[in-house]
Symmetry: C2
DNA sequence: TACCGGACATAAGACCAGCTTATGACCTCA
DNA sequence: TGAGGTCATAAGCTGGTCTTATGTCCGGTA
């Protein structure tokens, strides 16, 4: 039984697949394997076997089966909660992917900056789908200039941008705020500092996105009065690359709070406060000047307005 | 090709499986299908086919293939970011599940309250695994009293509790703060209020967890001077049930900020501020009085200390 | 007491998706 | 021009998951 292990079982082998997790959520909801099976569109024996093999795989009993139905065990409740997070992430993936696909024949064409497309838009799309099922949405991601271009060319109905100003020719409204935070690896000296002075931040080479990103624009403006931003330590092309470099100890970086989830709670990165500097930027919905959104675009706008991240 | 569709394709059919997502992340990291294949332990043709079928499924080109390697397209970068969130959730699932399984022969036995076990612990375990690979952890979830019991009986090495006080016989340290927030469905009248008075909150029947939960303890204490908590509208047994009831418009509820992720950004629930009331609670690591943690328990404690959610 | 119905488990066979190995085509660099 | 890297294609195998058909258990009810 324990001597013929061959390959290092990878994540996807240690974790039940999405279908199994969806099924588990259905069982938790309905209190019965059979009903859950019908809910997800498979037969009762299939559901039974699937949960059973999940229990075998995890080495934990998930259900208390009785002739009157099945209830979660304590461990099962915990597993179900963790599974719910995976399924929610998958739903966001799905919502985003559908918007990327639709391109043609979509009733709502959205253009959004990378940060917004990455972190916020999938959630909005899920909400939109719940309220207005059947609204086909297409998504195009790019920087502020590209978003403006699309809108003015009539190739997009609604745009989302981050940064300090509204691009020429557009009207817009602030839908949320986003805080920028300074983060370092736990081993970095700043990790033990209570807070920094703005001058220190300005004087230290940072890991940054390349020029033209919304993040950098805000940082420049905020530190202008403190001597301006030092020459960057590294200029990378994606948020992920910036995080990676900072985690491996290359130096401090500044990122949107939206981009920092797991890294903070797992303490792979730690926040450093900066005294007296408001590193905050607006996220805006935008549209061609004078053409207030109507139809599906108005629906989406109504959903996003007020989704402010910090009042 | 399009006329024999039969069953409603469920989420798990619309979304690539975990293995494919992990592979995509590897391709993004390595810039080559072949290298990514080796990284995840499959053959190059398998990787090629897998990515290709993912592209077919999503209806989007993910890679720019060249004889010098493969780079993500713009859409591919977005898809990869969304996939990363799914994989991270799966890693948290895995870390938690392993701790549930290990039970015996584990070098570190943790007892934690539900909220902490659900939202925080998996992240800590991932961090611990990164720093001290091979530390087998076992997890037992229960309320504060159960945690105390385990610790005092010598059946757990380290505990985590939420609430106002440290259980009798234990020492502890505050490792984080957690804000409680009042949330309602977007259709609720409070959703349009700028803020509430404490008296209003105290006077309104709320959806709550059953008695004895940490949340309720804090709420009681905070509103004691404002006339005390009204009789609950509903008492439910899980955080999820509370969220569900609030979303369907049953009434306002009070939840840990940790439990509210997607619901807020998708605007299925909205926060309501309460003037002048500090709905905040401490999350503490605890251990038997006089027995400061050593070994693996000390390692985990070091990781969690400072993972404060809001300074 | 006997029966009925709901719930879960088991068994046997069909089916499909993904893997592997072997090979080919293409580009770049020395 | 040949070597070494890239990705794609083809053929065959394997394993997991589904379905249908049935068995077992329990609780309520006449």
């Amino acid at each position: 039984m324990s001597g013929t292990e061959t390959s290092p079982p990878s994540l996807s082998h240690r974790v039940p697949d999405l279908g199994a997790m969806v099924l588990l959520l259905a069982v938790a909801r309905h209190g019965s394997l059979g009903r859950a099976a019908r809910d997800v569109g498979i037969s009762q024996p299939a559901a039974s076997g699937r949960i059973r093999s999940m229990e075998r795989q995890l080495g934990v009993a998930l259900l208390d089966r009785s002739p009157r139905g099945s209830r979660l065990t304590d461990a099962g409740a915990l597993v179900t909660d963790w599974a719910r997070r995976v399924v929610e992430a998958a739903e966001a993936f799905d919502a985003g992917a559908q918007a990327l696909r639709d391109r043609r024949d979509s009733r709502l064409r959205v253009a959004a900056s990378m940060t917004i497309a990455e972190y916020l838009l999938p959630g909005w799309l899920i909400a939109l789908r719940a309220e207005r099922p059947g609204t086909a949405v297409s998504l195009l991601a790019g920087n502020s200039a590209a978003v403006a271009l699309r809108l003015l060319a009539g190739e997009a109905d609604l745009g989302f941008v981050e940064g300090l100003s509204i691009p020429e020719g557009l009207d817009g409204t602030v839908i949320a705020h986003d805080r920028l935070v300074v983060v370092v690896a736990p081993s970095h000296p700043w990790a033990r500092r209570d807070q920094l002075t703005p001058g220190e931040l300005a004087g230290t080479p940072l890991i940054l996105r390349e020029h033209g990103s919304g993040t950098r624009q805000v940082l420049d403006a905020a530190l202008a009065v403190h001597g301006g931003l030092a020459r960057p330590l590294l200029e990378l092309s994606s948020t992920t690359a910036v995080k990676g470099a900072a985690e491996s100890g290359a130096g401090p970086c500044v990122l949107s709070e939206l981009a920092l989830g797991e890294e903070l709670s797992a303490r792979r990165l730690v926040k450093v406060r900066v005294a007296g500097v408001r590193l905050r930027r607006q996220l805006r919905a935008v549209w061609p000047a004078g053409h207030r959104p109507t139809g599906p675009a108005r629906d989406l706008l109504a959903l996003t307005a007020g989704a402010t991240h910090e009042p």
